[in-house]
């Protein structure tokens, strides 16, 4: 299969996985009304939009709108909004809303910057979408801040949750699920880093692996395995009744 075709098919597959994942998470939110599920659902729709725009570029071709939507949702907002979901899950509500306020202001600023940026598609390297097409200043510098916040909250939060369940040796499906979510969330970050270093398809492959691992992790964490019988242990000095 040619690299050009993979440039369309890989992100399309990521987009489909993210869409199904988002629908399942939002369906869960509609019955449980927990904010973290809402933010994860929104973040996953951003993931889906990012993948769909990459697929459009790979299969159809360049369009400024496609690029702007990809850069806004796929490169800037997705990790941070997913991470904000984890913040609502793990952090005290007042702090979570404060961080969301900062994220919301930053996101509005990002919308303005991305949609007013000057673009030159001839500057992109290889066959993938990349931020090199942006010629205006102050746009690409936004991505590390959003992504660092998303990385710390989403990956750190999943690893922390896995550790808590592990320490108590309870709900081992959540240990496994959170580890898969953490690894999955790291995958696009490494894909992006390797893409910058010149490795073709690294970003799209990282996004696909990330979407699949996070989806499996979520399913694993939310569907406990059949309960195992606890193993009785004789306590030597216990009193008899």
């Amino acid at each position: 299969m040619s690299v050009e075709l993979l440039n369309g098919i890989l992100p399309l597959a990521s987009s489909l996985v993210a869409f199904v994942f988002a629908v399942i998470v939002l369906k869960r939110w509609s019955t449980r009304k927990r904010l973290y599920l809402l933010f994860w659902g929104i973040g996953l729709f951003y993931y889906e939009i990012g993948g769909a725009m990459e697929a459009w570029y790979g299969l159809v071709g360049w369009s400024p709108w496609v690029f702007r939507l990809w850069y806004l949702f796929g490169a800037i907002l997705v990790a941070a909004w997913l991470g904000q979901g984890t913040v609502f899950l793990l952090v005290r509500r007042t702090w979570a809303w404060t961080l969301f306020g900062i994220l919301a202001v930053g996101s509005i600023y990002a919308v303005y910057k991305v949609f007013t940026a000057q673009l030159d598609p001839s500057l992109m390297i290889g066959h993938e979408l990349s931020g090199h097409a942006i010629t205006s200043g102050g746009v690409r510098i936004l991505t590390p801040f959003f992504n660092l916040y998303g990385l710390l909250m989403l990956v750190g939060g999943a690893a922390w949750s896995a550790w808590l369940f592990w320490r108590k040796r309870v709900l081992l499906n959540r240990v496994t699920g959170n580890i898969l979510i953490a690894v999955g969330a790291l995958a696009p970050g490494f894909g992006g880093a390797f893409q910058r270093a010149g490795l073709p398809l690294a970003l799209y492959a990282g996004e696909f692996i990330g979407a699949v691992l996070m989806f499996i992790g979520f399913l694993y964490a939310t569907h406990p395995a059949p309960a195992q019988k606890p193993r009785p242990v004789q306590v030597p000095n216990a009193t008899s009744i």
């Binding site: 590390p144 990385l151 580890i179 270093a197 193993r231 004789q234 306590v235 216990a238």
Partner: protein, 46 residues
């Protein structure tokens, strides 16, 4: 009847794999964080 308590013990494979996996994730977070800063300060291509 003697008192019994439930022993909380994960399967043997979990006991080995989970701490390693969590350690690797921690290292990857640090590594990706360093790359992000390297991008910010121009040591890694943007």
């Amino acid at each position: 009847m003697a008192n019994q308590r439930t022993e909380r013990k994960a399967p043997a494979s979990y006991e080995r794999v989970v701490p390693i996996a969590l350690g690797v994730i921690l290292l990857l977070i640090v590594f990706l964080g360093l790359i992000t800063f390297a991008v910010l300060f121009g040591f890694w291509p943007q």
